[in-house]
Amino acid sequence: MFDLLIIGSGGTGLSAALEAASRGAKVAVACKGLPTQAQTCMAQGGINAALGNVEPDSVEEHIADTLRSAHGLADEAMVRTLCESGPETIEWLDRMLVPFSRIEPSKTPHSSLLTPHSLRTIAQRRLGGASHPRACYAQDYTGLKILQSLYDRCLERGVRFLPERTLLELAHWEDRIHGAHFWDLANGEIETVHAGATLLATGGFGDLYHGYSTNAHGASGDGIAAALRAGASLSNMEYVQFHPTAMAGSSILISEGARGAGAILVDERGERFTDELGPRDEVARAIFRKIQEGSRIYLDLRPIPRETLEELMPQELHLTQLHAHIDPLEEPIPIQPAVHYSMGGIDVDRSFAVKELKGLWAAGECSDAHVHGANRLGGNSLLEIVAFGRLAARNAVEHPRMVPDTRECSDPQSRVEAIFQRRGKFNPYHKRKILGKRLYHDLGILREERGIRGALEYLTELTEKLPQTELGDRNRKNNRALVEYLEYENSLLLAEAVAQAALWRNESRGAHWRTDFPNEDPKFQRSSQTRMENGEVVVHAAE
């Protein structure tokens, strides 16, 4: 029995664990793989905070940039909480010994008077949609170094980790959550962990678009799907962010930092066609339209001096050589937009509590805390996961504890046994691959009703085929195929949520673009809400 069960070990989970542990709470962190294998390690660009170390900047401008990009779908109070927490969050990370890149103090004459002295040398760079260089970074290893540093601090403080636990269902009786049921990969059995409070920090669902996502395999929104099944509402599920620059074919990300440092987007004739530093949705659409017209699009890093590239982007140089067999110092990199981030997620209130379920909190990418709205700014997600992970943990441990109930609504056993018993001709890997491609085209950067309805029909077909979709591995222990099957099931549910929400929003706003409704419509300046009603996915306008 723990005071706080945190599900997920990325930036949100580890920040929450440290915060809760510092308040004396007995914490456990359950994670699907090993703690440092979380998606956060892939974040490259940086973490926003209006320190003004390179150019004058202010929290007000950070708020204004975030709201502009959100296209009317953000909660201004939450955006303020986020942006105001920026400098304090960096200070906390500095105390957690995160090795941010530094510059000489003489180069930081603009630091805000409010910027703590210890942060005056932190380097900052400009990411798309930001009015100033605001992203603090650690070369292009920002997420990795944050994650590894937080992990080290967790080890110092003796935080308990439960590795290789895949979330099956939230443990609940009616609307009271008292922990979670996991599939313990190594032992091949269900494990129930009870807790006085449960925090979902399970990340986004980019891997629905399997093969067309910059996310890690396994970013299947397990926590979002479990919350939906337990009765939570999801909000703004139609809002999926496409990163403009992923390597064509492999969908490996090339950070926005590249464009911030001077890289340009060109077509096969070498001509530029868009403002490289525009918001991600606009740049992604500009590229996608050119690709639809039959062009090939390239990211050209050559305008950046070689030394700058080697200093700022060692990881990029290595990855392009490996996956595209290209030396980006010599030739431009073929790119395409790819799914990068889930703006939508579990609907939470301003204390990060899940509205419909007691004892459950959610933070980070799995939640919709209404700070990104229709389009997330680069550098705001790392800020969100650390700042809101800590806040959510603080609220969760201060809240009266839930008492474990012997009665149980969810049935994880049946879910797993059903999968083991299925026999038939369909291969889940094959289906998942086709699903990814289908969603990229029909529920992608440019959407229209016919395509979305087609995607929904296809989802129904795949769901109906589940009883004949065979798990190819019958072994109980260390059965990776089972985990991937569970992820596939979650993907089917969440893809339906995305499709229904996309169908509901008859307008174009930010990252959701309907070619049949190409304008912003004031009627839709509100969040969508998705929930399960009698086993059906239903979308309403939020009140």
């Binding site: 500095d94 010994l97 650690a138 080290d152 110092e156 003796g158 395999h217 094959h430 195929a481």
Partner: protein, 264 residues
């Protein structure tokens, strides 16, 4: 193209040859995924980010540690799980014993806190560069698998943990944390870190450099260990192998027969 994979299924170990010629493959990881999806779903391995940053997919190819996602497969490659890790199934290993070495070095009894009345000076660019490479570690365990000392001393702390000790010793923020409140009778984190790497640590290393050779992040644990030795000598520690060494009779005792200073 044919790949041999060393498999372990239900306790039985055997080699299996997979022909991946018909599969679209750019990296070894992609080959493993394709085999799992199209040929044998029981093939078990760990993976995550596909871009060399999560550390999950380290394996040995032809006896050499590498990340599956960063290796371009070649005809006849032989794929095996990491050394010195209990094999759970096929290429999937239990990393918890290796990674528990981090706890031995990092865990602290007392909570340290900064004095808010005297804000610490900011880290300078030069100070950050001192541990920049060391903090690139992705905990893939390649260095641990390549380290020959683990073959004779399973309690050896291993390269990545020693690199992490050096990473924090060179970080002024780590040591500064307690200076202001330090009671001279208590060890500083600096000296307690050094203390923790003495036994089954820096002096057990043979300086063979295998860890450095296999690190996908170009970290140099061998050099970090040499630096730790230098700091230890300055702090008054000494090489126990030298103290125990008999120069007259063959050495069957400490040091596993290696003299770390003999020029490996």
């Amino acid at each position: 193209m044919k790949l041999t994979i060393q498999r372990t299924q239900e306790g039985r170990e055997y080699d299996e040859l997979f022909d991946v010629a018909s599969l679209k493959v750019t990296t070894l990881l992609q080959a493993l995924y394709e085999i799992k999806a199209k040929v044998d779903p029981t093939l078990t391995f760990d993976a995550g980010c596909r871009s060399g940053i999560c550390g999950a997919c380290a394996v040995r190819v032809n006896g050499r540690e590498t990340l599956a996602c960063s290796h371009t497969p070649k005809e006849g490659d032989r794929i095996e799980p990491l050394n010195y890790h209990p094999v759970q199934r096929d290429l999937k290993v239990d990393k918890s014993p290796a990674q528990s070495t981090l706890v031995k070095v990092l865990s602290r009894k007392e909570e340290v806190s900064v004095d808010p009345s005297s804000p610490p000076p900011p880290l300078s660019p030069e100070e950050e560069k001192r541990f920049r490479i060391q903090s690139d570690c992705i905990l893939c365990d390649s260095c641990y698998s390549a380290c020959p000392v683990l073959a004779v001393n399973p309690d050896f702390l291993g390269p990545f943990t020693l690199t992490r000790a050096w990473r924090y010793l060179t970080d002024p923020r780590y040591t500064r944390e307690v200076e202001s409140q330090n009671d001279s009778s208590l060890p500083t984190p600096h000296s307690s870190l050094l203390e923790k790497v003495q036994q089954n640590g820096i002096w057990d290393c043979t300086l063979c450099g295998e860890c450095t050779a296999v690190c996908p992040q170009h970290i140099d644990p061998k050099n970090d260990i040499m630096q730790l030795r230098g700091e230890s000598l300055k702090a008054g520690y000494s090489d126990p192998n030298l103290a125990n060494q008999s120069f007259c009779t063959p050495d069957f005792g400490g040091g596993f027969g290696f003299d770390p200073n003999a020029g490996f």
